[in-house]
């Protein structure tokens, strides 16, 4: 009995103690309750889908209603809200590149979708400035690749001097089987696909034919500081400089990369004054890479090589000693040419000049071969040299023609030449003009075109043709030899232009109204991006 009473008393006392303690507890907290503003992103009646499928470089416009405490504030700049549209990779992955593109900072989205093909989330983030509270709208966005054939430009970025980027113009002049409604233009393609432009200023852009049937040929971009390959559809980089080689050289100093035969399926590189070749004749597995450094007793090689020699692994020019060298197929020795006939147009072993600009063009009328056309300079003198590098190793008439064009207008400062394939003329750009030199008729060129502004300088002129003759003969290249592309640069406005005209393939007469594009940089080279389309 006593025990029971004792326990009961203990329990009672305990409970009393606890309750007294709690009842004496003062709430010492200091809370400040703030009523938050209510932000709602309302898509009702805005025509906004929950998921989108767009082509790369399509333009997307969306505008949901932004409600702040029930009031629409899309057009109210005083609303204390910040807006940000982003596009980011939807799938989490431990490999590959995760994309996060910022598309805009307004309630409405009005932007090009330039990221590579893939699955993404499109997100609008509305942030209340006072509290930092964020409200989101998330949509699915599938991007489809849409880059095929067209006219490529490699230009020095106006906004990032010293770097290069890629543009692609797609219209009925340069791509088959499209309508005007399907015409597109793409700019800064390389950086859009690789997060940054290419270091260096433009030298060459080229999609060479080495695996025509497989469709794997990349686009090669050469600048003054780098050499890269990109996927021809996405423009994502697939090869750095070192990836071109079986064993990369210690010094990275490429100055030329090109083909060495319209049908020979070889490419070669000039790097650190040595020549490297790669043979695409064998498409067996294991890849094709540049081989050993090949040198000879030559001086400094020019940043030039023949793209159209049918019988050589490479043709290069020793500008120190004024002689051409070649690498005969299946050999490893770079040698001068045989002693030339005194009746040759000029002696390729004794050229008293350096190369100012170059192109390939008409041969003897044979559609399967081409000659090299070189604007040469010696002091104030200028010459047009025409050479045929298609002969065998014993050829003694490599030099076809040597024309003194010193007095041709603007030739001193010519920046670019293009040689006709179906006529006997070259066009060259100088100042704000393009000149037409009918070299077999007169050493004095005539004005063919003048830029609309005196401040525009012609930086690149190219006829629409392709070194791989099959492309022209089979009608794969649209409008072969009948379109001329003229690129200009205005230093004061820091704006480039591309003018595309119809041209008479036999005479070089430019006619009609141009297609005009604004280029975000200074064009260094242009070329047709081949795609097998019949």
């Amino acid at each position: 009995m006593h025990k029971i009473l004792y326990c009961l008393l203990t329990a009672i006392l305990g409970l009393a103690g606890v309750s007294s303690l709690t009842s004496c507890y003062d709430d010492k907290g200091n809370y400040n309750y703030i009523d938050l503003d209510e932000v709602v992103i309302d898509t009702t009646g805005c025509g906004i889908q929950s998921a989108y499928s767009v082509g790369r470089y399509d333009h997307l416009t969306l505008e949901p209603n932004i409600l702040l405490n029930g009031q629409r504030v899309n057009d109210d700049e005083s609303a204390p809200l910040d807006y940000m549209w982003t596009l980011y990779t939807a799938a989490m992955t431990t490999s590959g590149t995760l994309v996060l593109d910022t598309l805009g900072f307004a309630p409405a989205l009005d932007a090009d979708i330039t990221t590579v093909a893939g699955t993404y989330r499109l997100q609008l983030t509305v942030t209340q400035r006072d509290t930092g509270v964020q409200t989101y709208l998330q949509l699915s966005c599938q991007v489809e690749e849409s880059i095929t054939a067209g006219w490529m430009l490699l230009y020095e970025r106006a906004d990032q001097p010293g770097t290069s980027d890629v543009g692609l113009v797609v219209n009925t002049l340069v791509k088959k089987n499209i309508t005007a409604a399907q015409e597109r233009e793409f700019w800064n393609l390389y950086s859009a696909s690789n997060q940054e432009p290419i270091a260096g200023t433009p030298v060459r852009i080229f999609r060479m034919v080495n695996d025509m049937g497989g469709g794997t040929d990349p686009v090669t971009c050469l600048t003054t500081e780098d050499l890269v390959n990109v996927n021809n559809a996405t423009f994502e980089k697939t090869a750095d400089f070192a990836d071109f080689f079986y064993a990369a050289p210690a010094v990275k100093a490429p100055i030329w990369y090109g083909t060495s035969g319209r049908s020979a399926r070889r490419c070669f590189l000039i790097n650190d004054n040595a020549v490297y070749t790669v043979n695409y004749m064998y498409t067996t597995g294991g890849g094709n890479y540049l081989g050993n450094a090949l040198t000879a007793d030559f001086g400094e090689l020019a940043a030039w090589g023949s793209d159209v020699s049918n019988s050589c692994e490479a043709v290069v020019f020793d500008q120190t000693n004024g002689r051409f060298y070649h690498l005969v197929q299946y050999t490893s020795q770079i040698t001068p040419f045989e002693a030339q006939s005194p009746t040759a147009g000029f002696d390729v072993n004794n050229v008293n000049a350096t190369i100012q600009a170059s192109d390939w063009g008409r041969s003897d009328g044979n559609a399967g071969s081409a000659y090299d056309y070189l604007l040469m300079r010696n002091g104030n003198n200028r010459y047009l040299a025409i050479a045929n590098f298609n002969g065998n190793a014993a050829d003694t008439n490599v030099g076809i023609g040597w024309y003194d064009i010193t007095n041709s207008p603007g030739i001193q400062d010519a920046t670019s030449i293009t040689a006709a394939f179906l006529g006997e003329y070259v066009l060259y750009g100088s100042g704000n003009k393009v000149y037409n030199l009918q070299y077999n008729s007169s050493p004095i060129a005539t004005e063919a075109w003048t830029a609309p502004s005196a401040e525009e300088e012609v930086t690149c002129v190219r006829l629409q043709k392709f070194y791989y003759s099959v492309m022209m003969l089979a009608g794969i290249l649209p409008n072969p030899n009948t379109v001329v592309h003229i690129a200009t640069w205005n230093e004061s406005t820091r704006e480039g232009k591309l003018y595309q005209y119809t041209i008479d393939p036999a005479t070089g007469a430019i006619s009609g109204e141009p297609r005009i594009y604004t280029v975000p940089g200074k064009v260094g080279d242009m070329n047709w991006k081949y795609v097998m389309e019949m």
Binding site: T284, G286, G287, G291, L294, S332, Q333
Partner: protein, 247 residues
């Protein structure tokens, strides 16, 4: 009871003499193989090199590192007389503060007294540490360097023909000669390889297989090496019949 236990405890404590390492003794252990996996001997094949090449041995100090460089030499204590003059050793140095290093023993094919030596029967050489003031001979199992000598080269089975998808070596490298193959091994550092028409990489090191394009790259490498060889020797490279070696 307590008194008994304490007496027993005291009597069990004695000082023993602890042996210490004799720091005055320094020996040198020698072996072929890798740093941690020694082998009993090594084989050197004169046919794998046009001129001079080498084998590598390890030397580890059994003792303390020193504050100065320590040198040693080898002496050939037993071996095939025919090898005389075709090999050389050096004065080797264990740098101050170090206890382990690798060193070469050189062999030169062109200095064989008889070019036919060891073509049918193997020879051997046995090296030991030459007496010196710095090191004593190491443990017995690390006291000798035995090199077995050979001088024969077999024509690869796949030189003239190969089953699809493989290609014969002659398809890329031309007609066989012992001297050509020896030159290839010397320049390329690979032998008994195959050319696989279905290769997925340029050189499959595990299977010793080349892609056709890589084989052509090696062909170019050999062409350049042969040009240099011929330019730097009194006589261009010829095979046993006297014909010029070409690629």
């Amino acid at each position: 009871m307590l008194f008994v236990l304490s007496v027993l405890g005291l009597s069990s404590c004695e000082d023993n003499e602890t042996p210490v390492y004799d720091v005055s003794r320094t020996a040198l252990n020698l072996w072929f193989g890798s740093e941690i996996y020694p082998v009993d001997s090594l084989t050197y094949n004169y046919s794998y090199a046009m001129e001079e090449s080498s084998v590598t041995f390890y030397a580890r100090v059994s003792g303390l590192p020193a504050d100065h460089d320590r040198t040693f030499t080898l002496e050939m204590v037993d071996g095939s007389a025919e090898a005389e003059g075709s090999y050389r050793t050096e004065t080797y140095t264990i740098p101050a503060g170090e206890i382990l290093a690798e060193f070469p023993i050189y062999f030169n094919t062109t200095l064989l007294q008889d070019p036919e030596s060891f073509t049918t029967t193997d020879g051997y050489l046995c090296f030991r540490l030459a007496p010196n003031n710095e090191f004593e001979t190491g443990a017995e199992e690390y006291s000798e360097l035995i090199v077995r000598l050979r001088n024969y080269l077999a024509k690869p089975d796949n030189w003239d023909s190969a089953d699809n998808p493989y290609l014969s070596l002659s398809y890329v490298f031309g007609a066989y000669s012992r001297e050509k193959y020896q030159f290839m091994i010397d320049v390329l550092g690979i032998m008994e390889f195959a050319i696989n028409g279905n290769a997925t990489v340029p050189y499959d090191e595990e299977n010793n297989e080349l892609s056709l394009n890589y084989a052509n790259y090696l062909l170019q490498t050999l062409q350049l090496a042969l040009e240099e060889y011929n330019a730097t020797h009194d006589e261009p490279l010829r095979d046993s019949s006297g014909a010029l070696v070409t690629f």
